[in-house]
Amino acid sequence: MSAVNSSAGAETAVARKKLGFGFWLCIGWLAAMVFIALFTPLLPLKSPTANFLDSSQGRPPYSPSWKHWFGTDKDARDVFARTLYGARISLTVGFSAITAGFLVGGTIGVMSGYFRGWIDRVSSFVFVVLLSFPSLVLAILLTSLIERSLLTVSLVLGLLSIAPVGRLARAATLQYSEREFVLAARQIGAKDRHIIVKEILPNVAIPMSSLALLGMAVAVVAEGGLAFLGLSVEKGITWGGLIQLGSDASKTLEKAPWISFFPILMLFLTVLSLNFAGDRLRTFFDVKEMTL
């Protein structure tokens, strides 16, 4: 009886340590998206801007067919090609935004958590101020004022991610700075920079890695929201822009739902994958912490 119980317990412990099929499915999807985003021009796709007007089918939009897998929009452009091209800007913006947020917010957060004192007081105040703005409103405000290129839109979204990233980095750093191994490193004569880079960062990176995925999901959604309002990257195809295109004029959504549906599906699956993978990663590392 007890032997059966203990073996079952061991099995669940082992099972819990694995990331699971779902996680790898999500990672697979994300890898595919990244691949597509990187190599879109090299893929055997139809031109995203070409007009595939076919007089035999009457007026576009054309519904999905063998020729146009995802159908075409009102200008008879191939939705499949455009959706894949859309991955480029959406993912680039999401990735660069969260990278910028991590570089700036992470650095400030770790510094203020480690050194405390005035750095901590100033940065905490700045974080509170940043967090007190409704972030999407701030994003709309900023993007409507500037020239919207890939870089500037990424930077605006990156700016918005500084405060949440910085707060988490600060909290995690605070927690680890109090641990005795930091004192142990100090007492063998390690310098502050050495302690931060070698002792604290690898520990802080664990909770941060899941935030990176979740944060990227938020950035992709935010970019979609901005694009929907016409406030994302001006030249170029983004998922938000495609969704907007399929729902602008009256009854487009009703008559040709595929124009919006496929970009929505891609956006949904990508954000879902990011969230799910981030979540799994967090629980995975939590368990590891507990078994230590």
Binding site: Q187, I188, L292
Partner: protein
Amino acid sequence: MNTTSAVASESEPFIETVGLKTHFRTPRGIARAVDGVTIQIRRGQSLGVVGESGSGKTVLSRSIMGLLPRNGVIREGSVRYRGEEIGNRTPKEMRSVWGREMAMVFQDPMTSLNPVMKVGKQVTESLRLHLGMNAAEATEVAEKIFRDVRIPEPSRRLNQYPHELSGGMRQRVMIAIAMACGPNMLFADEPTTALDVTVQAQILELLSEQIHDRNMSMLLVTHNLGVVAGYTDEIAVMYGGKVVERAPTKVLFDNVKMPYTEALLQSIPRLTQPSHSRLAMIPGRPPDLVNPPTGCRFAPRCAYARDLCRSEEPPLTTAETPDHTFACHFPVGSPEYLERKVEIERRGATTGGGN
């Protein structure tokens, strides 16, 4: 290191503190964690610092090493290492001393090892940092040190993470890290408290063997008088941030002066006692370090305390042997002590008879 220390004779203190005070600013007021401590340790000697939780023994060892929090600390008094004043040095100036000259072994090896770094790397870090070794040399030395601290299969252990090792193994790694750069002064802060009883003796054995082999001095902090008995040359008993009795280990066990030390000794379980006999304990709690009692700090808990104890702090006096000092108005063996002891025994006998 330098010529003056090389010339310094064996009898001169290797490390000493004079009137060392470490106070913390807390929301309740100033906590006097270490309140005027004067101790000396000679080269190759070990001193056991014994006391209850909150007696200031850990803060004392960290104050000597200069490993205190940055904020809210008030420090006074002097710390001299090899004749040089190091008490007023900044952490930056202490860096050359840490690791190479002084090292510390902490209480809980689980929290004092970095969970995401291989233990081998944690040893080689300081070798590379201080002795400028390259990775291959450092690994070789680390393997040797692992063998010294009796870690089986050292080359395999070097590549393991702390959670893959047992508690005793982790503490051996901690000791290896402390020994890596060949320090001359080792601080061991309750090195066995987090360990299994069977492993405790092994670790203490290892520590005393290492300091003997390397002619190091050691300050061993513990709450267990039984622990220091076999492994230290001298003992300092701390109470409420002060040293209340200090003597060579053998002298202290033979000739206790301070009723607090006596009470600590009586609270060690002994095999010679009949089984199921009640273990003696010290009533009450350690003193409040923010508002310490006036007079002798142990007086409120002391069975032998009189009015004088509660009004006037006893000075540090020397016992029959010159290296035995204590702070008590009515030490063990004094007429007042004996008078009170008779009273206590009589009372104990009557209550015992009543039951």
